[in-house]
């Protein structure tokens, strides 16, 4: 399997007067893991629902496996929604056999970590195990396209690494994977990133492409709490990283002035910006316009 598996061409979706997705073009190729980023309300969920064929496009077109996302093509798709889509009142085995029947495939073999849990009700499992079951249910039919909405939210670091092992194995066997995430360390695990803001696709490519021309200044001080309060009060887009304060797209001289006026000693240093900072700047622009 090679080439483009999932493609949106100039896709727009309006709800009444509100444009949720505005002229977005993107694609997912075989063997790659693509990360879809954006603040709440950026249009990620609406875009995914169109890609999955769950809602219609207002204009533009969606191609799933070479055609419209109809029922036949959706059989070749694996989807794990944020709510996991499992039946809490059914056991692990019942959930898996239900989804295997729906896709017309054999029931998956439970991995060692879940082997003892086959007859437990899904709602009684810890969240990490529930996510593993949801992955198994969605991947048992070897889908060619996989869409994962916040796949590792709420699980511990070890369980997260195990889930990423599964995601990577799917890409290695040739599937195209689209992942939404709010976890920046997770974004760094993707091959390629897409960033949405206000319904539009505003950046695409590597982490460096997403960050673009955004810059940041690190403020180091013995009194981060007061420095943070002073800079926030001055309207600077501040955030914390360790106990260093970071300010996106700021002029170091201006920050030094604010800190000096508040009587706080600090050293300022330009540092590479992060994806979160790019997103913060975009949301400020959107709020201002």
């Amino acid at each position: 399997m090679t080439g483009v598996l999932l493609r949106a061409g100039h896709v727009t979706r309006r709800f009444g007067a509100f444009t949720a997705v505005d002229d977005v073009s993107m694609r997912v190729q075989a063997g790659e893991v693509v990360g879809l980023l954006g603040a709440n309300g950026a249009g990620k969920t609406t875009l995914i629902r169109m890609l999955l064929g769950l809602i219609a496009v207002t204009s533009g077109r969606v191609d799933l496996l070479g055609g419209p996302p109809d029922r036949e093509r959706r059989r070749r798709l694996g989807y794990v929604p944020q709510g996991l889509g499992l039946y809490g009142d059914l056991t692990v085995r019942e959930n898996l056999s239900f989804s295997a029947r729906a896709y017309g495939t054999a029931e998956p073999v439970l991995p060692p970590a879940l082997a003892g849990l086959a007859d437990i009700l899904v709602r009684e499992l810890p969240l990490g195990a529930q996510r593993q079951v949801a992955f198994l249910a969605a991947l048992a039919h070897s889908p060619e396209v996989i869409v994962l909405d916040e796949p590792t939210s709420g699980v511990d670091a070890l369980a997260r690494a195990a889930l990423w092992d599964t995601i990577r194995a799917q890409a290695e066997r040739g599937a195209g994977v689209l992942v939404t995430t709010h976890y920046m360390q997770e974004a760094q695990q993707c091959d390629r990133l897409l960033l949405m803001s206000d319904g539009r696709l505003v950046a695409e490519g590597s982490e460096a492409d997403i960050i673009g021309s955004t810059t940041a200044v690190a403020v180091r001080t013995g009194d981060w709490a007061r420095a943070f309060a002073a800079l926030a009060a001055a309207g600077a887009p501040v955030m914390l990283a360790g106990r260093a304060i970071r300010v996106a797209n700021a002029d170091p001289a201006g920050l030094a002035g604010v800190l000096e006026a508040a009587g706080i000693e600090a050293s300022l240093q330009p540092v590479p910006a992060t994806i979160s900072e790019r997103m913060l700047m975009l949301s400020r622009q959107a709020r201002a316009s």
Binding site: E150, R168, Q189, W224
Partner: protein, 279 residues
């Protein structure tokens, strides 16, 4: 003032939710509890909040009227507006009249919720609802602020807003204990506590945790011991508690030693515990 739980053990039915856990929360600082679902984070927070009783150990916390608690559930009433939610909680603490009007305006402004003041809580986005819950937890200026996963599942921009609110609370002297599943947030706190199956895996400042981490982490495409390795992007990391083997012939080509970050440290220590205790 420092608040604490000491040698705390909590059993929930047959399960041990907390196993001999000691955590101190000094005024003016943020202590972050990190761990996955079922690690014991909520139980620890609820123990300090007086919401769950201990089977062993002691709790030192201020009286209820000096305590602010944001539970993991939304913490607001869906059928009330933002203003009504704040006023209801403020009323419980005896805040009224001009004092309430001023406090409410100040908090709405800091949380960037002023434009949403008349909206029903049910109509807020997830991030806005968590910020409302935070505002309700802090309206009476508590000495101890306990926040159960204030930022889980909300977008990075709302997370930054919440962190600013948390930082400001600590800056004004409150002791803050918060739980999170995000390790990058734990790095930000003055003191971090990593919980795993009800026990403290490691705690201290980020610098202390890094300095005290023993052994080495290597990066490889082909781990030597699969049960000591984990996925990081396209490569795998492997933990060597006693140091990586020095002989290059025993490691596959391209294996290098890496400086472990908090994610590596937490996974390595979790593996060490699991591999030491056969299940």
């Amino acid at each position: 003032m420092t608040y604490s739980v000491r040698s705390a053990t909590v059993r929930l039915g047959p399960a041990v939710a907390l196993d001999d856990v000691t955590v101190e929360v000094p005024g003016g600082s943020v202590v972050a509890v990190v761990g996955g679902d079922g690690a014991g984070k909520s139980t620890l927070l609820r123990a300090l909040a007086g919401e769950v009783s201990l089977d062993a150990g002691t709790v030192e916390a201020p009286p209820k009227q000096r305590l602010g608690y944001l539970p993991a559930s939304s913490g607001s009433w869906a059928a009330l507006t933002v203003t009504q939610n704040i006023d209801f909680v403020a009323g419980i603490y005896g805040l009224a009249g001009d004092e309430l009007t001023a406090r409410r305006a100040e908090l709405l402004d800091r949380a960037a919720l002023t434009p949403a003041a008349g909206r029903l809580a049910a109509q807020l986005s997830g991030g806005m609802r968590r910020k409302l819950g935070f505002v309700m937890a802090i309206v009476h200026r508590p000495a101890l602020l306990i926040l159960d996963e204030p930022t889980t599942g909300i977008d990075p921009v709302s997370r930054i807003d919440l962190w600013r609110l948390v930082s400001e609370a600590a800056a004004s002297g409150a002791a803050v204990l918060m739980s999170t599943t995000y390790l990058d947030e734990a790095e930000r706190a003055a003191h971090l506590v990593v919980l795993d199956s009800g026990r403290v895996l490691v705690q201290g400042s980020y610098d202390q945790v890094r300095a005290e981490f023993a052994g080495e982490v290597t990066q490889t495409s082909q781990p030597v011991r699969a049960d000591w390795a984990w996925r990081r992007g396209r490569v795998l990391h492997e933990y060597w508690p006693g140091g990586a083997p020095s002989s290059p012939s025993s490691a596959p080509a391209g294996t290098t030693t890496v400086a472990p970050d908090l994610e590596d440290i937490v996974i390595a220590l979790s593996l060490a515990r699991r591999n030491a205790v056969p299940s």
